[in-house]
Symmetry: C2
Subunit: 332 residues, 2 copies
């Protein structure tokens, strides 16, 4: 049996392009004891993958040229030589961009397709939901009545952060890049205010107006000039979970800007970078809380579902153009 696969062809110098990817075909090996035969159903594409395309030391090792790219995938078990999994089960895990693959069961988790839609396990009940939950509750520590600003607010993480902020009693302000997204933030996700950074001339002034009492928690998904403007409005003892710097992922050089230290000192502000796996020992607790809120309709989520294995690279590239609303998923 043969399978299509997508390999890293070359490393991007700035934004990823289709030349960085190579479609190939390979033989699926024989199923051995303990292994599973998996059919890919849904592929998660995420901004952090851009970092793994560089050949630099990061929190997870870089992809290798000529080897398949991997991301979190929901797959159906179509063959099993492992007693813990049977044909017809669905699993989630970090898997290769292949239509069909053999995998060791290590690191795979069964997902319950009756409890929630399968794609929820790539988003609100997966990495993105857990990133929002732990970044906000463990670092941001919002208190009732405080003001929370979220950048990249219409994205998969940002939209969940804002909703959790509302559940916890905050005033929530979202920053996003189109009027349509701002509208969705308010109507669908219950944000109090939205700022379109592309059409707003003075973001600093817009934040000041939306947050007259200043900003207590800033969930930073983007970095760059948007973050500079939020910092101008941060309150004493403000907390900044630093989750993403998508504005700089495609830069070849380390981006420069105003140094944040004088503001951190002046206002005793905490700024803390994190990745979701820091909280791995608390994942069950996080998933349980998010699933409860989901069931109670206290949180909802958006997803952009692209169809077709051959469209995985384009779906990934579209993330950097802001073409997704919520979690970007490819259905195979």
């Amino acid at each position: 049996m043969k399978t299509k696969t997508i390999l890293l062809n070359s490393r991007p110098s700035a934004k990823p392009t289709k030349e960085n990817f190579k479609f190939s075909e390979e033989e699926v090996p024989e199923l051995k004891d303990g292994e599973l035969l998996l059919k890919t159903k849904f592929v998660s594409v995420d901004p952090y993958l851009r970092g793994r395309m560089n050949d630099v030391k990061s929190y997870i090792p870089p992809f290798e040229i000529g080897k398949p790219i991997t991301s979190v995938i929901i797959a159906e078990v179509t063959g099993s030589k492992n007693n813990d999994f049977k044909k017809g089960d669905f699993v989630s895990g970090n898997l290769a961009w292949k239509e069909t693959q053999i995998a060791n069961a290590k690191g795979l988790n069964k997902v319950d397709h009756k409890a929630a839609d399968l794609t929820a396990y790539l988003g609100v009940l997966g990495m993105t939901g857990l990133t929002a939950y732990f970044g906000l509750t463990e670092i941001g520590k919002p208190k009732k009545g405080e003001t929370l600003v979220v950048s990249g607010a219409a994205g998969a993480v940002g939209s969940i952060v804002g909703q959790i902020g509302k559940i916890l009693g905050c005033k929530v302000i979202g920053i996003a890049g189109t009027d349509e997204k701002i509208e969705i933030l308010k109507s669908k996700f219950g944000f109090d205010e939205g700022i379109n950074y592309k059409t707003t001339k003075d973001i600093n002034a817009a934040i000041k107006e939306a947050a007259p009492n200043g900003v207590d928690v800033y969930f930073d998904n983007v970095g760059g000039e948007i973050t500079d403007a939020v910092l101008m409005n941060i309150n004493k003892f403000g907390r900044i979970p630093t989750c993403g710097a998508i504005a700089s992922y495609n830069d070849e050089e380390i981006p420069t800007g105003p140094r944040p230290q004088p503001i951190l000192i002046k206002n005793s502000v905490l700024m803390q970078g994190f990745i979701v796996s820091n909280y791995a020992d608390k994942f069950p607790e996080g998933i349980k809380q998010l699933a409860t809120w989901l069931k109670e309709s206290k949180i909802t989520y958006s997803e952009t579902v692209v169809e077709g294995f051959e469209n995985i690279p384009q779906a990934f590239m579209d993330l950097f153009e802001g073409k997704n609303e919520g979690k970007m998923v490819v259905k195979i």
Copy 2:
């Protein structure tokens, strides 16, 4: 009775100059009920006063033009209409740059001149010692066997930070600006390594060599390019108490440089600004611990004592030329 006083004459545009200060003479008013008559003995001059000379919102209000400058002063009670204080007592508090003054007792603390030298209450048992203690233990949280880097290491705060780091079992590396200071860091304060940032061409490489296991805690007294270089060597889960940005106090514009966020994310680093008064409710505990270490000769301190009321402005200006070794104090 008349007293000399030093007023803010104008706001500095960059480094403070003697034109920013004005010597004056005024009548000392009558002592009223509850008040003390104080004779200034020792005046603390500190980098943070530079911030108060600007007309900008900061964690403490700016000095006013034509009004006396204030800082922490040790004074002798020479007259008292307050039952809690008697003639001959020594007090510490935020007082005006005057030879003699009347003060309300609020905010003044008695200091025990038998337990330690009076100047210790301006340094190791005062603001600078407490800044070192709480910044390091509450934010830096060093663990035995970890590597601690301290910038501004020969300064009043830095030299205490390094010694506490040694007491807590860390490898301690200090960064300072003269070979003489580096020598003192090692011989007097027990630092393991010292880096002279003025004569070292590649600070990044020098830190890498001194800290082959990377940097776990960086006590940042300076900001700027020294901080950029330390960040290049920060370990996963590194912690950065952000205490000072002396490199930028004299800048008119917000200084720019490489954005730290990508490194904070990559290594899950915490960067937290603070001022010592955040920990005011724990001051007694901190003073007790520092006094114990001082008595046990586990910590020592340097001070630069300048003599003469008329030399207060110059002593302050000399801080920005690095002319002090340890705490800068003016004896009246």
